[in-house]
Symmetry: C2
Subunit: 494 residues, 2 copies
Amino acid sequence: MFDSARLPHDLTKEQFGALEGELHEQLLDAQFELASSAAKSVLVLINGSDGAGKGGALNRLYEWLDPHGLDTLAYEAPTEEERLRPFAWRYWRDMPAKGRIGVVLGSWYHPPLLARALGETTRRTFKQQLTTINEFEAMLAAEGVALCKIWLHLDHKDARARLKKITRVDGDDARPVVREWAEVDTRKERRRLAEAGVAMAEETSTGPAPWFLIPADNRYFAELSVGRCVLATLTAANEPSPPKPAKARRSLAAQKPLPGPTVISALDLSKTVDEKTYEEESDDLKARLTRETSRASFEKRGLILVFEGNDAAGKGGAIQRVRQALDPRRFRVHGVAAPTDEERARPYLWRFWRKVPRRGHIGVFDRSWYGRVLVERVEGYCDPADWMRAYDEINDFERQLTDSDYTLVKFWLSISADEQMRRFKAREATPVKRYKITKEDWRNRDKWGEYEQAVNDMVDRTSTSRAPWTLVEAEDKRYARLKVLRTIVETLEA
Amino acid sequence: MFDSARLPHDLTKEQFGALEGELHEQLLDAQFELASSAAKSVLVLINGSDGAGKGGALNRLYEWLDPHGLDTLAYEAPTEEERLRPFAWRYWRDMPAKGRIGVVLGSWYHPPLLARALGETTRRTFKQQLTTINEFEAMLAAEGVALCKIWLHLDHKDARARLKKITRVDGDDARPVVREWAEVDTRKERRRLAEAGVAMAEETSTGPAPWFLIPADNRYFAELSVGRCVLATLTAANEPSPPKPAKARRSLAAQKPLPGPTVISALDLSKTVDEKTYEEESDDLKARLTRETSRASFEKRGLILVFEGNDAAGKGGAIQRVRQALDPRRFRVHGVAAPTDEERARPYLWRFWRKVPRRGHIGVFDRSWYGRVLVERVEGYCDPADWMRAYDEINDFERQLTDSDYTLVKFWLSISADEQMRRFKAREATPVKRYKITKEDWRNRDKWGEYEQAVNDMVDRTSTSRAPWTLVEAEDKRYARLKVLRTIVETLEA
């Protein structure tokens, strides 16, 4: 593939000058439009051999575009902070907001390519990493992040010659911003890198995120080409989005459910535990939980607990019991409220990615990314096509976590409508608890059936072998708390 | 996943009767709309355990929908005709036209599941097959084929009990239409089938093509659920398509190319061969070609030759020389003209799929599926997003062929604009050749530069390790014909 990038180019400085003016103007116009509509963000991935002029291309983009709307995201070897989290975390953390352009040096392609070239991973593992990247990029595209994937190509010989020159000359703009391939040294490693590059081009050049291989033998040609690719991506991103279809027509959820059981209605809510049993078991479980999370081996794992449930089902109380058994320095609860402006400007998973705990720590989500397929679905905050696609995206996200040695435990705490009413009334009567109940809680009760269906579908579609849901009969608080503790302990012990 | 399908259902005949009427009406309305707009087609995949009522659900769809717009596509063990071609050929062959609904019994999921259950394939191979299926289904969705993937679920015990009953009772509607899982017999095989089913649900339930797992313990519930899934798919398919974006804004191709070489301009068209060398070499190559295609081992392979090139570049003459060396009973040339009505009503690759030769035969395409990224791109017959996506789809299609032991050899025959002019004039002056030249040929000459760019991009993006392009300097006919023959012979000998 991309044989044309191996041909020699001889664009002169004069030709460059003649072409640059119009491109500069067009780029600024397109960037202005992107910023004003703030409907999408753009990520420009500048990849390529050492010495191919990645830094020069970056600098040129800073000349042509308004630097205020431009972020450089440069990644070298992972920092300690980054090594302690899943592979993709560093890229997620820096995701530019809608209306902005991020230029990525050292993208998510580089670590897998390097590992493959050095023989640290097998060909098969590398292919799987490419599949994961495809899923990640498809999700970004669907979430309004337009990708411009550039590879600056230089033959190995040319690259070496150029690097030598750079180390002699001490000009700032000639120094490569990121030195990435220095470790790929032997002929065997170079052959593996070349082979991996072909596989990368063949597997990850997709409709929404195609590769652009740009010859880097002539810097004028290379820099103009980079500018033109960015312009094409910007103009495509500035296309007005198609109008949303009529919601009511799109999905099964629009139809009234058939009479039949759901995973929720099938629960036996009459289960109870007496106080004495509760005290004994709870002490035992907490001790085991403390033990499991104090092991040296736990340092290499992360634990993520997801709590979802009916309003007033006792999520807070259950989390409190878990907290009592854990080292407070390593335990953090994230309550999920309405998204902030900053969060709304990015893919919906972003606000959860930024809260992924480092390994050895425990992150608790009191409500979570499942809001997309629960409240956003039921209240119509997003389109059926969006939440339908979210099941798959959430499964991919959770697989990235479990692949990075995180353990996920997900709870749905279930109570009956009657019990909820009793708890609401009790809360209203108790001064210190009155703040816990809002108009929204009462409103949600009116959509009990729709929520039940949404929960049923959520469990059906996201209870995977790697990250299963645990349904908790929460009518009796003691029973619920024990089941939560027991599930966590048994998962960790397994 | 899909735990809710394991819950017991007890819908009564009366409840069924009360609910059926409205569904029936809605289905007919939606089908009528689908047929009148003829913008999309719908494929309903009815999968599931033996005895789960696949036949009953199919019959019910025939009651509820207008049978004139409905096709049953039932697949059992492959026929000889099917075994001689790539795996996906049988499904391609039957693809319903736009406006129609196809109901598939024994879909593309069944052979991989069965092979995995019987231990004929590894877990890894099975996962790769699922990835291929995802690519295939994404392509169908992008090409206007809406999928409704249904799995009728029955526990193993229930399924066995029901099958016993069926063999006793001789009622027509109770007999399973397709008996598929009879071979899965031992406990180990059943365990593998269950595990593969989980992987299938987790990997292939995507945004555009989600799975619907329907409990089959109660036939009223199951049949109504099938009807509702079909209705949801129909209404989604009937959504008006979003308006196409302004073409000029979408892609790099809209920008005037930078001055620089292309894979075409880099060709050395001055190469010639004298008549004597030509005769000798050509005889030798033809003899070797005859030998290679007469081997017993060739029976297990298929050979596909793709000829693209400038108008009057000598595709016909080159094909003629290949023909002379081959068994006429096994050699077929497909000239590609404008698509027929029947072809236009289906995904653009359909008309090529139906012409894939059986193994042991040789299929020649005189122009091919590359029309999408050549003439359709340059003439604006399709949207930039469509031809951009086509590179990836074509690579997937060709990988399916090479994975099925087909050899692909792809030629671009290149001549200069001047030489083309000479040949056009010569043709016009020769009575028997005058029919070969049309107004369109002259018009295409005006877009020489755009075509060159399109060819360059095509070669860059579809010259893969499995199916590389061969660029043929065709200014001298003898040189071109020898290069074509030599490339085919050497590919077969390798």
